[in-house]
């Protein structure tokens, strides 16, 4: 763990109701421009870990710091603000709002912090260009394929230049070829924006695009040679 890490996790532990301990002693550091993939069996707590990193769930023990800000020191409003300004998300099910245009969907994180619609939409248009969807900003979710929807989601995750990008099974709903292209785009975006990227996946093929691959188990994360 270096001083330049954008994400620092120390001694994290999480138990669920009942006798079950999901993980403990979990340490993780992610540097700017680095993409880390976390793999593990179903039910091991991968999504829970992402939720804790996003401030959507609480750990039983340990600390999470994003760009120097310790999540535990923030109340709900502070965590909300941190997510709004410093974190980007990519989901397996895309979650593109069907009643907003694609441009508005991408611009949503900017619209949450500023009422300047023109600036937000111009930046969203840039991001759509960057993910290969030039000129599609006026369209709606129903007009796109799964791969295109996930590219819109990636554009949305990066539009506000976050320090940390969290991705939960970003290619789980895509065919292999589309998944490969989307992952390449995702990795390029993380590196190009010098953000810290954490991706949770089942798939070894998806994990292969990451700089580091970590396996999540009951005793935390174990690095795996790719």
């Amino acid at each position: 763990m270096g001083e330049a890490s954008l994400l620092e996790v120390r001694s994290l532990a999480k138990a669920v109701p009942g006798p079950r301990q999901l993980f403990r002693n979990l340490d993780l550091a992610v540097a700017p421009g680095e993409l880390v993939a976390i793999i593990g069996e179903s039910g091991v707590g991968k999504s829970t870990l992402l939720n804790i990193l996003a401030g959507l769930d609480d750990a039983n023990h340990g600390t999470v710091a994003i760009d120097g800000t310790v999540l535990g020191s923030l109340d709900d409003a502070g965590r909300t603000r941190l997510r709004r300004e410093r974190i980007g998300f990519v989901f397996q099910a895309f979650h593109i709002l069907p009643y907003l245009t694609l441009r508005q969907n991408v611009a949503l994180p900017l619209a949450l912090v500023s009422p300047d619609a023109r600036a937000a939409e111009a930046r969203a248009e840039e991001m759509l260009d960057a993910v290969g969807l030039s000129g599609r900003g006026d369209g709606y979710a129903r007009d796109l394929s799964g791969g295109e929807l996930q590219r819109v989601a990636i554009a949305r995750a990066l539009v506000h230049r976050p320090a940390l990008i969290l991705a939960d099974e970003p290619t789980g709903n895509l065919d292999p070829e589309t998944a490969r292209r989307v992952l390449a785009l995702f990795a390029e975006a993380v590196r190009g924006h010098a953000a810290a990227g954490v991706m949770v996946t089942h798939s070894d093929a998806s994990a292969a695009i990451a700089d580091r691959v970590l396996t999540l188990g009951a005793d935390g994360l174990v690095e795996r040679r790719v």
């Binding site: 996003a54 409003a77 300004e85 998300f89 619209a111």
Partner: protein, 841 residues
């Protein structure tokens, strides 16, 4: 940055969310806005009609009063001694006084108030009562001094269809006098009055030595009022335009407030419809809100987005409602007049009066209903954990979770407690507030009620699969049924409460009429005519008459700002009147006391209890002993019964205006009636109406039903809004389960089985709603019967349950919900099963 700052900076995103939702679901927006509009329109229209009628009534009172500074009024039609006039005219602070004789009169069938004035005095004090001849004002008074000259207001002239110069027979105080229409009364406004010289009025119409009113102009009110009060006899009171206005207001206030409240039921139902629609919309957008929360939208922004939607619905609905309400009121006044059925404002021409404060009030109520309907779903959406909501497909129902009942019990308890508080200024405000809380509690308890109802059915394992699925779905998610049902439960409960109250009231009135109309024939005089002692003897001696009881009924003003009570003089001391329904009596009547029996409304209004000594402003004798309390549903302002011998001794009034007749057994009632008519003097014959008790009873019940007709209409609209709510909500719920139906079709359920499942669900939901509405309605009826009615109208009754209505409501609601569910199900199951589950693959 706080949550609030985040809300402000995120307003662009909020705008996109709200705009997107409305663009994609305009029907939802329109339906909810229309529901609010209907509620606002009904409430505003009823308020406008009543307000306009009251305003016209007020104007009519001012027209008859002539807008004097202050008036001395007789407490009864017997008037007061005219020797009071010079004493009042010279009292300190009084600059001028105008004596007036006032009589109810008619020309043909046109009824009007006949005023006798001194034209010279009236010219100074009440110039609006000065007549105008075709050539100009009658300021010289030469026509007014003509004993046959009559000046009619425009309204009276129009109604009589007579022309100026015509000689017409005027009937008043039992006498007919031919008068010449000499001109009009331009200052009288829209009121039917006629003015003649006071000497003619006293001489020709039998009021010699008596006056009914003294109109005053004052040089110093603060000096005049106490000076005049000091010299007043007991049979006169000081009154002002304000007090007159208050009297008119008091007469109908409880009725108007009750009708306003009823009209607001539709708005309340509209508010619940907003709640249903917003709840569904929130469930549908659960993942969208979760996404936005994940992306950093503050909780308050989620609340703000949904409440802003409610605000938009409220603004549009309330604005449209005000316009529609104004149109509705205009139409109602144009086609039905100012009386909404209760008979308070009959007879006066009513013009629509726009009431800006009422408009603002109803607009605000519309907004509040829409916003409140949105707040609970908004808070629920903001509370949802975003991570869980993003992962789940939206169905996070846990059938093991108990249905909450504590909020319902608390609200119901608070409602009952509040309903027990006394009236405020004669209005049952706490009663209405208590009903609102009980209603909220009842609606909050629907999930618990639904689960309790379904528990034994759910435990029964041997159902066919479609029905088992239906029962399990509703048992597991009773909140869903409650969302669909809240509006209809509220409107049904209020409808059942009203129906129970009206049934109880009607039954009580019917029973009461059966008792009080115990004679075979009834007769009464009109236009102030009376049966004098000679006529009474002749009538009593009519062959076939076994028993006659003559009575006198006159209005008696107790306080200038309250409507007069009825003083009824009847034979009472020679044995208790069998027609009197006594509900309380004093243990003994002191030998020296003059007993009176007060009606239940009089007891409640004035606090006159049996055994008390009370003062009545009549004939100078002011102390009476309350010997008992009798049930009376006929006179809302109260009545006092006095033995006719005591009455005659005190007042010297030998006239009687009503008679009840018991015919000899075996005699033909119609023949006896004809014989009695034949024995009347020719001049009196056309001033006496003879009726049978059955006719009176039918007439009374027709009046009763008419006075509640508008109530039924308002309830019907509320039920309709509630049914639309059930239909819209159930449709939306069914359509949102498309994927579930797709999955079931994959598993092998036929479309017919799906329809069976949905029909069962619909029937259960409708039946549950009807049952919940009935239980809640019967509880609310107790507040109406035992709190609202006594506090508003001062009469009590026992509960009678309208079983037929309950059965009809249950059948209608169950049927409507079943049909709605089946129709919505057809649409939802029409798509190919494969497409329905595509997202789950």
């Amino acid at each position: 940055m706080s949550d609030w700052a985040g809300l402000i900076s995120g307003r662009l995103a909020l705008g996109w969310l709200i705009g997107g939702e409305w663009r994609f679901h305009p029907a939802r927006f329109v339906t909810t806005a229309v529901a609010i509009a209907v509620g606002v329109a009904l409430g505003f229209a009823v308020h406008l009609v009543n307000g306009s009628a009251l305003s016209s009534f007020d104007g009519a009172m001012r027209g008859v009063s002539g807008a004097a500074d202050l008036s001395i009024r007789a407490t009864s039609p017997l008037g007061f001694d005219e020797r009071l006039y010079p004493r009042v005219a010279t009292a300190a602070g009084v600059s001028d006084a105008s004596p007036v004789v006032s009589l109810p009169a008619r020309i043909g069938r046109t009824r009007f108030t006949l005023l006798g004035v001194d034209v010279i005095r009236a010219a100074n004090v009440t110039p609006s009562l000065i007549g105008r001849r075709p050539r100009g004002p009658d300021s010289a008074g030469d026509a007014a001094f003509d004993e046959a000259a009559l000046f009619l207001s425009r309204d009276a002239l129009t109604q009589t269809r007579a022309k100026i110069g015509a000689v017409v027979p005027v009937v008043a105080n039992g006498r007919t006098v031919r008068l010449r229409i000499a001109g009009t009364l331009p200052g009288a406004g829209d009121v039917a009055i006629g003015v003649i010289d006071i000497a003619t009025a006293q001489w020709r119409f039998g009021k010699l030595g008596r006056l009914d009113r003294l109109d005053l102009t004052l040089s110093d009110r603060s000096v005049a009022a106490p000076a005049v009060r000091a010299i007043l006899p007991p049979d006169a009171i000081v009154s002002s335009a304000v007090a007159q206005s208050a009297q008119g207001d008091a007469l109908s206030r409880a009725y108007r407030v009750n009708l306003d409240m009823l009209a607001l039921v539709a708005l309340l139902t509209g508010g619940f419809l907003v709640y249903s629609a917003q709840s569904l919309s929130v469930v549908r957008r659960q993942r969208a809100f979760a996404l936005l929360r994940t992306l950093g939208m503050p909780r308050r922004a989620v609340v703000a987005a949904i409440v802003t939607e409610g605000l938009g619905i409220g603004v549009v609905g309330a604005a449209v409602g005000l316009l529609a309400g104004y149109g509705l009121a205009w139409g109602a006044l144009r086609w039905f007049g100012g009386d909404l059925g209760a008979g308070y404002f009959g007879g006066s021409g009513v013009h629509l009066v726009f009431q800006p404060r009422a408009a603002l009030g109803f607009f605000t109520l519309g907004l509040v209903a829409a916003i409140l309907g949105s707040v609970l779903p908004a808070l629920g959406a903001a509370r949802a954990a975003p991570a869980a909501a993003l992962k789940n497909a939206g169905d996070v129902v846990d059938p093991r979770a108990p249905a909450a009942w504590i909020p319902a019990v608390l609200l119901l308890g608070a409602g009952v407690g509040m309903a027990l508080l006394p009236a405020v200024n004669g209005l049952p405000l706490f009663g209405f507030a208590g009903m609102a809380l009980m209603l909220a509690g009842g609606v909050a308890g629907v999930p618990w009620f639904a689960r309790a109802l379904l528990k034994p059915i759910a435990a029964h394992g041997a159902w066919p699969v479609p029905r088992m699925l239906a029962v399990r779905h509703l048992y597991g998610a009773p909140g869903e049924a409650a969302t669909a049902l809240c509006g209809i439960v509220a409107s049904t409960a209020l409808m059942i409460a009203m129906a129970t109250m009206v049934t109880s009231f009607r039954g009580a009135v019917d029973d009461w009429l059966g008792t009080v109309l115990g004679a075979d024939l009834y007769a009464r005089t009109t236009a102030g005519a009376a049966f004098d002692p000679e006529v009474r003897m002749r009538l009593a001696a009519t062959p076939g008459v076994a028993h006659v009881a003559f009575s006198r009924q006159i209005p008696l003003t107790i306080a200038p700002d309250r409507p007069p009570i009825s003083l009824i003089a009847r034979p009472e001391r020679q044995g208790r009147d069998p027609l009197l329904v006594l509900i309380a009596r004093a243990p003994t009547i002191p030998a020296t006391a003059v007993p009176v029996w007060v009606s239940e409304p009089a007891q409640r209004l004035f606090g006159w209890d049996p055994g008390e000594t009370i003062a009545l402003p009549i004939a100078g004798r002011t102390r009476f002993y309350v010997a008992g309390v009798w049930r009376d549903y006929g006179r809302q302002a109260g009545a006092v019964l006095i033995d006719e011998a005591d009455y005659q001794k005190l007042t010297g009034d030998t006239g009687r205006d009503e008679v009840s007749v018991i015919v000899t057994p075996g005699e033909d009632v119609a023949r006896v009636s004809a014989r009695m008519t034949a024995r009347l003097p020719a001049a009196l014959r056309d001033q006496v109406e003879i009726t049978r008790p059955a006719t009176l009873r039918r007439f009374a019940l027709t009046l009763f039903d008419r006075s509640f007709a508008v109530t039924y209409l308002l309830e019907a609209v509320a039920i309709l809004v509630g049914l639309v709510g059930v239909a819209a909500t159930m449709s939306a719920q069914t359509i949102s389960r498309e994927r579930e139906f797709g999955m079931l079709r994959h598993l092998g359920l036929t479309r017919r089985q799906l329809t069976d499942m949905l029909a069962t669900e619909g029937a259960i939901v409708g039946f549950t709603g009807a049952l919940a509405g009935i239980v809640l309605g019967l509880a609310l009826a107790q507040v109406l019967i035992h709190v609202i009615n006594p506090q508003s109208f001062n009469w009590t009754m026992t509960t009678r349950i309208p079983f037929g209505t309950l059965a009809a409501v249950t059948a209608a609601l169950t049927g409507a919900a079943t049909v709605t569910a089946v129709l919505a199900g057809r649409r939802a199951t029409a798509r190919q099963a494969v497409l329905s589950v595509r997202e789950d693959w």
